[in-house]
């Protein structure tokens, strides 16, 4: 049994809007009582349509946001306690949606070094960590390039290398593929899956693409600031009506399997891949 890494209890987050005279004009509840446990080494995908609260949720795990109510405990530390801040952000790195807006330096290796430099790590060790991180994401050939010359997928991999150089236990990703083309999307997903498997790094990925989450350990669906579904991809994808009620669209293979079952074709529930569907259909002949 793996260790518990993230423990979230009754998390509420309210955005408050004030007018010029500091009078509260509006509060909106982005998170409304979220409770979730994430075990170390797992790959969790958080799904939801735009405005479902999933991005707000992710920013609580590395204390970029503070709970209005409830608690977030990351590896035994309460995110609301200020003295935990830097230790927490070192262990829970974050990748954002726009690859351009998270690269700080105009040389790739210096950008990867940015995190360790902030942590005050000695120079020789930074050099070693940067080399390791770039090698791990397959970008060592671009060590001295300018990030401006890289593709979106490559930029995101540089961002991931920047986190790796801080030796994180967990990588949070806030719609990391939303601005990428299909090639870049595959690159980034392959990289994080490898890190999850080989380096045992916990991954929490926010996305609205269901086709990206067929091979994760666990899928959490959010809607209106609440967790509405939670299970393995197989379990989640067999509840297709529920998914559409939460404004999600399943991959074509799942939809086709579902449509066929509705017509009375006896194929098993929870089909996720082309091969599975083909096999199931051929067995019927």
């Amino acid at each position: 049994m793996n260790k518990l890494l993230i423990r979230i209890r009754d998390l509420v987050h309210e955005y408050r809007e004030y007018d010029e005279n500091d009078v509260l004009v509006r509060t909106s509840r982005a998170l409304d009582g979220v409770t979730l446990d994430v075990t170390e080494g797992s790959f969790v995908a958080v799904l939801g349509h735009n405005g479902s609260g999933k991005s707000t949720f992710a920013k609580h795990i590395n204390a970029l946001l503070m709970p209005t109510e409830g608690t977030v405990i990351f590896s035994g530390r309460d995110t609301a306690e200020i003295e935990n801040l830097w230790e927490l952000r070192k262990e829970a790195g974050m990748i954002f949606q726009n690859p351009d807006n998270q690269i700080i330096s105009n040389v790739v290796e210096e950008d990867v070094a940015f995190g360790p430099e902030n942590l005050g790590i000695p120079s020789e060790e930074i050099i070693a960590r940067v080399a390791f991180a770039l090698e791990r994401v397959g970008m060592e050939a671009y060590r001295l390039s300018s990030p401006n010359k890289l593709s979106g997928g490559q930029k995101q991999r540089i961002g991931i290398a920047g986190l790796l150089a801080m030796k994180p236990r967990c990588i949070l990703m806030d719609e990391p593929t939303a601005m990428l083309d299909p090639v870049g999307r595959r690159e980034v997903l392959r990289t994080v899956h490898e890190l999850n498997r080989d380096e045992h790094i916990t991954v929490v990925m926010i996305t609205h693409y269901l086709e990206e989450v067929t091979d994760v350990d666990r899928v959490v669906v959010m809607d209106q600031g609440k967790i509405v579904m939670d299970g393995t991809p197989r379990e989640i994808f067999s509840r297709i009506d529920e998914l559409s009620a939460h404004h999600m669209r399943v991959p074509q293979v799942v939809e086709l399997a579902y449509e066929l079952r509705k017509e009375g074709v006896p194929i098993p529930e929870g089909i996720l891949t082309v091969d599975e569907l083909v096999e199931a259909l051929c067995r019927l002949r």
């Binding site: 210096e110 360790p116 430099e117 005050g120 120079s123």
Partner: protein, 266 residues
């Protein structure tokens, strides 16, 4: 493509000047400029010019790159030269209508033009042989003493390096915005000054909005990567003086001594 524009004007080459510590090069530039104001005789300038030629030769940067910087100041050069020629009193050489040209005027103008040229080319040596990154690094380290009087020197140099990273992105963004507005019939070149300024609004507002968003995103990303100012921060490649750097300082002081001596002698 716009993304390929080089900022500053770094010329990539492998030379002793390129390898010098940026702090040395900053000191060189400052002292060289100062030296041009110490000695004012023809000999001083000849010596300074010879010294500069030596540096350029060592730097392996083609001479026309060095002279490029002069293009932008040609107008200033001409205007101030003319001003000197006509205004300064002395032995009159030519006189026509209300103008007169004096020997002293010609002399002063000539020296001033030479001084400005040396000054511009002299600083080009630094900008052409130092990457913008090294330059900000050098500035941060050599001006570190200003922290004592609460000048946020680390923050300033961090801002400079972020600006260096984002300027090409913003240039490209301006291009995209202009195209998007031109597709809506906007006209960016026609009309007088006021019309032109007005036409800029549909370009500037999206640019500002996007810049602010980028700034907010970047701040968040930096915080998420544990950035908390310069305190306790280390560097992957900290600046370290090497043998050549000390030698360069020595050369610099010998040069300055010679300039002062030449200035006294004449």
């Amino acid at each position: 493509m716009i993304r390929d524009i080089t900022l500053g004007q770094y010329y990539d080459a492998d030379s002793i000047i390129h390898r010098l510590d940026p702090r040395v090069k900053l000191a060189f530039t400052l002292i060289y400029i100062a030296s041009l104001y110490v000695g004012k005789s023809v000999y001083c300038y000849l010596f300074a010019a010879a010294f500069l030629c030596g540096l350029i030769a060592l730097s392996r940067v083609p001479v026309h790159f060095m002279l490029r910087g002069l293009k932008s100041i040609v107008v200033i050069l001409v205007i101030s030269a003319l001003f000197n020629i006509f205004v300064i009193d002395g032995q009159v050489l030519v006189r026509f209508w209300i103008f007169r040209i004096t020997l002293e005027g010609l002399k002063t103008a000539g020296l001033m033009v030479v001084r400005l040229i040396l000054l511009i080319v002299g600083s080009s040596v630094m900008t052409l042989t130092t990457t913008p990154n090294d330059l900000t690094d050098g500035l941060e380290r050599s001006l570190g003493f200003l922290k004592v009087i609460h000048v946020p020197i680390h923050e300033i140099s961090m801002m400079m390096s972020i600006a260096l990273r984002f300027i090409p992105i913003l240039v490209e963004e301006v291009n995209k915005i202009m195209k998007a507005q031109m597709a809506r019939g906007a006209d960016f070149d026609g009309g007088g000054l006021i019309k032109k300024a007005k036409a800029m609004v549909p370009m500037l507002i999206p640019l500002f909005v996007s810049s602010f968003r980028r700034a907010a995103d970047l701040a968040l990303a930096m915080e998420a990567r544990c950035y908390h100012g310069g305190e306790g921060r280390t560097k992957m490649y900290p600046l370290k003086y090497k043998k050549e750097d000390f030698l360069a300082y020595l050369v610099l002081f010998v040069y300055l001594g010679c300039m002062i001596a030449l200035g006294r002698l004449t």
